[in-house]
C-alpha cells in the first residue's frame, strides 16, 4: 500500500485535520515509513499463530453493577471551551 496525496487528503478529512501542503508532505513520508515497516512484519510466517489483540493474557475483568456518585458537573465542564446551561456548547449539529 502506498500513501499518496489523495489518501492523505482522505485521512485528514477522517481525522478532521486541515493540513498545509508542507504538513501533508511530512505526514505522507512518515506514514509511508510505517506502512513499509508493516510490509516487513508481513514477511513473517504467522500461519500457525493465533491472532492477538492484547499483549497480556488477562480476561474477564468486570465491575459489579453498583451505582457510585457521578462527578460534579462543574468539574466535568471545567475544560470545556464553551458551555451553556450545564451542557457542552458546540457548533450547530444536525443529523
Amino acid at each position: 500500500m502506498i500513501i499518496d496525496d489523495k489518501m492523505i487528503d482522505y485521512i485528514g478529512e477522517l481525522a478532521r485535520l486541515k493540513l498545509k501542503q508542507e504538513e501533508k508532505e511530512n505526514a505522507k513520508n512518515e506514514i509511508n515509513k510505517i506502512i513499509d515497516y508493516m510490509d516487513v512484519l508481513n514477511t513473517i510466517d504467522t500461519s500457525n499463530i493465533e491472532a492477538m489483540s492484547h499483549a497480556f493474557p488477562v480476561k474477564n475483568v468486570f465491575r459489579k453493577d453498583d451505582v457510585m456518585p457521578s462527578k460534579d458537573r462543574d468539574d466535568i465542564l471545567l475544560n470545556a471551551p464553551n458551555k451553556k446551561d450545564g451542557a457542552f456548547k458546540v457548533p450547530k449539529t444536525f443529523e
Partner: protein, 477 residues
C-alpha cells in the same frame, strides 16, 4: 411491474442495568444535563473503562432467549467517527466477535408461522443527546445517556412485509421484557429500530439496492415508514432511475423520508480491537447458570395456557404478549382458581380500562390479587356482576382493596329474600298502570317492574332472585 420487498432490522435496546456499561454512573432516565457523568463516560484523556458484568449476563440471557449461539470468547472493538454526542470520537462496540450469533425468533402473521433469523447481537455503548439551542443557534450536549449499555440485535433480511416487521418487534419486545433485560419504552428511546429496505421486480433473484431508515420510535411510525419507503423506491425504479444506497430519515409528521445530509466517508469507521478492554471468556457453567435462570418465554407460556386452561388462542396471544398482563393473570388465578374467569376479566374490563385511561400495560398499578379477590366475592354472590365491574374500576384507578371497599360502601347484595319481596310488592302497588298493562297481556312490563325494583335495591340484589320474585308476585295478581 410487480415488486417484492425485502427488509432487515437493527434493533437497539437499552439495558436496564443500574449503572452504565463502562463506569459506575447511574443510568436513570431524566435528570439535569450532565449530572450522571464522570471522566470515563465523557471521554476524558487517561480514563479507563471497566466492563459492567451485568451487561454480559443480560446479553447472554437475550442470546439464549432468541435461540442464539453464545460466542464464548468475545471482545470489543472501536468504531471511529466524529460526532459531538460521542466524546471519545469512537464508540465501543463489537464487530469481529459479537457475543451472540445465529439465532432466530418465531413469528406468526395471519396464521402463517415464520422464523426470522438473527445474525448477531452485540454489546455497545449509547451516545449522548444533542439539543438544538435556537437562541444561540448552536447545539448543547448532554452526556447523561452516553455510556448506557445497549444491545444491538441484527436480523437477517428475512422480512417481506410491514406486518412481519411489526410481529417481530412485538415478539422481541415481549421477550426482552419477560427476561427483565430492558423496559423497552419506545417513547424514552430504550427500544429503537433501524429498517433496511430494498425492492426488486418479481423474477429478479438478487436483492435491490437498500436504504436505511434510522431510529424510528413507534410501531405505527415504523409501519408507515416501511410503506412510504417501499412506494418511493418503486417509483424511482419505475421512472427508470436507480435507488441510491443511503441513510434516510423518516419524518412521521410529513409522512415522507428524506436523505440525511450525506456525511462523506461516514461509512469508513476504521474498526480496530479495543485495547482498553480485555477479552471476555464465557464458561459452559456460566451459560448453564443463565439458562436455568430464564423464565418461561412467551411461546411456551402461550402453549401451556391453551393446553392447561383451555383458553381461546386469541385471548392467550394478547395476555402472553405482555409480561404485565401475564403477571395480572397468574396472580389473580392463584387467588381465585378460575383461569377462564380471570382471562375474561382481563380481555374485558382490564383492556377496556387501560384503553379508556390511556394506560400502557407496564404502567398498570393495581395489585393483581385484588382482581382474584373480586372474582371470589362475585362467585360467592356477595355482589352482582354490575357492581363487580364498578368496584373493578376503582381497583384499576385507585388500587383499592375490593373487600374493604364493598363493606365501607355497603355494596353487598340484599340476600334477605323477605326484604326483596317487600320491595317487589311495594313497586307493584306503586305502579297500577303498569300492572294493568301486564294484565292486558304486555309482557314487556315485567322488565320495567324488575328495573324499578333493582333501582329501589340500589342494584344490590341478585338479578336472578329479583326476577323470580317479580314473576311470582305478578302471577299472584
Amino acid at each position: 411491474m410487480e415488486f417484492l420487498t425485502t427488509m432487515g432490522l437493527e434493533v437497539h435496546c437499552e439495558l436496564s442495568t443500574k449503572t452504565k456499561i463502562f463506569c459506575s454512573c447511574s443510568t436513570e432516565f431524566g435528570g439535569e444535563p450532565n449530572t450522571h457523568v464522570c471522566e470515563v463516560c465523557t471521554g476524558m484523556p487517561g480514563s479507563l473503562p471497566m466492563l459492567n458484568e451485568q451487561v454480559v449476563e443480560y446479553a447472554i440471557r437475550t442470546g439464549l432467549a432468541t435461540n442464539c449461539t453464545i460466542t464464548q470468547y468475545n471482545k470489543f472493538d472501536r468504531k471511529n467517527y466524529f460526532y459531538p454526542d460521542l466524546p471519545k470520537a469512537y464508540q465501543v462496540s463489537q464487530l469481529y466477535m459479537p457475543i451472540c450469533q445465529n439465532g432466530h425468533i418465531d413469528i406468526e402473521v395471519n396464521g402463517v408461522k415464520k422464523a426470522i433469523r438473527i445474525k448477531e447481537i452485540h454489546m455497545e455503548e449509547d451516545a449522548g443527546k444533542l439539543i438544538h439551542d435556537p437562541w444561540d443557534d448552536c447545539s448543547l450536549v448532554d452526556y447523561n445517556r452516553c455510556g448506557v449499555p445497549l444491545l444491538e440485535i441484527v436480523s437477517e433480511p428475512d422480512f417481506e412485509s410491514g406486518d412481519e416487521v411489526i410481529a417481530y418487534l412485538t415478539k422481541l419486545k415481549s421477550i426482552l421484557q419477560y427476561i427483565d433485560v430492558s423496559d423497552c419504552k419506545m417513547e424514552q428511546g430504550s427500544l429503537r429500530a433501524d429498517v433496511n429496505l430494498s425492492v426488486r421486480p418479481v423474477g429478479q433473484t438478487e436483492l435491490g439496492t437498500r436504504t436505511e431508515m434510522k431510529n424510528i420510535n413507534s410501531f405505527k411510525a415504523i409501519a408507515r415508514a416501511i410503506e412510504g419507503e417501499r412506494k418511493r423506491q418503486i417509483e424511482v425504479i419505475t421512472d427508470g432511475k436507480k435507488v441510491v444506497q443511503e441513510t434516510r430519515r423518516w419524518d412521521d409528521n410529513k409522512g415522507s423520508s428524506f436523505a440525511m445530509r450525506s456525511k462523506e466517508n461516514a461509512q469508513d469507521y476504521r474498526y480496530f480491537p479495543e485495547p482498553d478492554l480485555v477479552p471476555i471468556e464465557i464458561s459452559d457453567e456460566w451459560i448453564e447458570k443463565v439458562k436455568n435462570g430464564l423464565p418461561e418465554l412467551p411461546t411456551a407460556k402461550k402453549e401451556r395456557y391453551i393446553a392447561e386452561y383451555g383458553l381461546p388462542e386469541y385471548d392467550v396471544d394478547i395476555i402472553t404478549g405482555s409480561k404485565y398482563l401475564v403477571k395480572i393473570f397468574e396472580k389473580a388465578t392463584e387467588i381465585c382458581g378460575e383461569p377462564k374467569e380471570v382471562s375474561n376479566w382481563i380481555m374485558g374490563e382490564v383492556l377496556r380500562m387501560a384503553s379508556e385511561t390511556s394506560t400502557e400495560f407496564e404502567d398498570i398499578k393495581f395489585n393483581p390479587d385484588s382482581l382474584g379477590k373480586l372474582i371470589v366475592i362475585l362467585k360467592n354472590k356477595v355482589i352482582n356482576r354490575n357492581t363487580a365491574k364498578e368496584v373493578f374500576e376503582k381497583v384499576f384507578t385507585d388500587d383499592i382493596d375490593p373487600e374493604k371497599y364493598i363493606k365501607e360502601n355497603g355494596l353487598e347484595m340484599v340476600t334477605d329474600n323477605g326484604a326483596v319481596e317487600a320491595i317487589v310488592k311495594a313497586v307493584i302497588e306503586a305502579n297500577p298502570k303498569a300492572v294493568a298493562e301486564f294484565k292486558g297481556g304486555s309482557a314487556k312490563v315485567k322488565g320495567f317492574i324488575i328495573g324499578q325494583c333493582m333501582k329501589q335495591l340500589k342494584g344490590k340484589a341478585d338479578p336472578g332472585t329479583v326476577n323470580k320474585i317479580v314473576a311470582e308476585e305478578l302471577e299472584k295478581l
